[in-house]
């Protein structure tokens, strides 16, 4: 077993048997985590590779690359590992979280605004698992709800993931990073 080189991208080993870097998550573990925790089907990631750069930071990438790789970024950061409770990123759940069926908490408009602004809030109604949840709300449904656009109205008013929240003791803590937080009006 060798140590993790935090300065470069290394592709995750497919399984435990192929692991040669201490403490590195495997592709199997990552895909299983998204399936077990959030119900995101494993096939979602069939065309993607997973990489580690930095201590425990996992990246999901859809293009071509060889391992190891010393460049600035590939695809997007998706998950923080090498800690007891793995934590998905806000940008990952926005990109892939529509496929989630479990550990998704639906927020009312005022709650969604507070969440996007980075605020923590008491939400008593959640009776699912504690820990990291996907916070979601309905978009495309306004007070007037007028039809519009240039295509078919097939996906209006669907649930849309906002970001990752940490739910403990009746409180939902927004994990939206500072640079992504916004004060929204509606």
């Amino acid at each position: 077993m060798s140590d993790n080189d935090g300065q470069r991208f290394d592709r995750l080993p497919a399984t435990e048997a192929e692991r040669d870097v201490e403490g590195r998550a495997t592709r199997e573990e990552v895909v299983d985590y998204f399936a077990d925790r959030f119900g995101i089907p494993s096939e979602t990631f069939d065309d993607y590779t997973f990489w580690e750069k930095g201590a425990g930071k996992i990246w999901v990438y859809g293009g071509e690359a060889s391992t190891p790789l010393e460049i600035e970024a590939i695809g997007m950061t998706c998950l923080r590992t090498r800690q007891e409770h793995w934590k998905p990123t806000t940008d990952f759940v926005q990109r892939f979280g529509r496929a989630a069926t479990d550990c998704v908490i639906d927020l009312e408009p005022a709650e969604a605004r507070r969440f996007a602004a980075g605020e923590d809030q008491e939400i008593e109604r959640w009776d699912g698992d504690w820990g990291y949840l996907i916070a979601a709300h309905d978009v495309g449904v306004g007070p007037t709800d007028q039809p519009g656009g240039d295509g078919e109205l097939v996906d209006r008013g669907e649930r849309e993931p906002i970001g990752v929240g940490l739910y403990v003791h009746g409180e939902l803590r927004s994990m939206v990073p500072k640079g992504r937080q916004r004060d929204l009006e509606s």
Partner: protein
Amino acid sequence: MEPLERYRPIIDDFEDFLAACRRPLGNAVRVNTIKASVDRALATLEAEGLAYEQADWNPRVLDLETDSPGSTWASFHGFTHGQEEVSAVPPVVLDPEPGERVWDCCAAPGGKATQIAALMDDRGTVVANDNNLGRISALRFNAERLGATSLAVTNADARNYSLQRFDFDEFDRTLVDAPCSCEGTIRKNPDALDNWSEGHISSVAGIQKGIIRRAIQATREGGTVVYSTCTFAPEENEAVVQHALEAEDCRVVDFDLGLEHAPGLTEWDGETFDSSLEKAARIYPHHNDTGGFFVAKLEVTA
């Protein structure tokens, strides 16, 4: 506006041109189809009570009526990205297909690179390079917010770019959205002409020539290179493409553009350019009420 006087002989309706340059631009956003269909993005904006107008030439480009286009739910979800209307032109001219290898050699802050990824349904490899490490953080931020998983971000000088870091040794298409004197951004940045000088134009043209040559070398035979700038100066536009025609194996090709524009020039300041440069497009602010832009499409011939 003084520096723009040199273009009086080549721009029709020059007074209209100057008047347009003095008018500020509206807020343009591009719908990011990696995260939402056009329809879903529009429904989201409507639900927020935001009015918009779709561009005639591209339904993904919107003129948005708001003072803060970055503080909408549509933007928070990455359904929209603030991007000037003409800035959405080069990726459309590049016309990439899913699965291809594409190089955006001057990519920060990433509006065009993520648009390329969206046009490829986020499938394939988009190498987004920039030589400025500071601007790469903005590129990475935008790529993640817009959900572009096909992007590989590198920090290098495009003029001597090495493909050794990848498994492949040539690209299918390359976008050279070159650093330039930015005369065409005067409506967005009123001080864009403050440090204008012919000396600056001449030095930036030297860099542009180095980048376009490397772009052609790194693109496969039959592949496409699009060269664009946001400036009017022929020294940075037709003269750079002319240099590429003389130094590399390529030719200028036609493309369709749904925006009003003037043809590229075949002479400037005593210098003549290949007649094929008429196939390039000069987009002036008074044509479509946008910023100014230059676009040429090249086919690599060996």
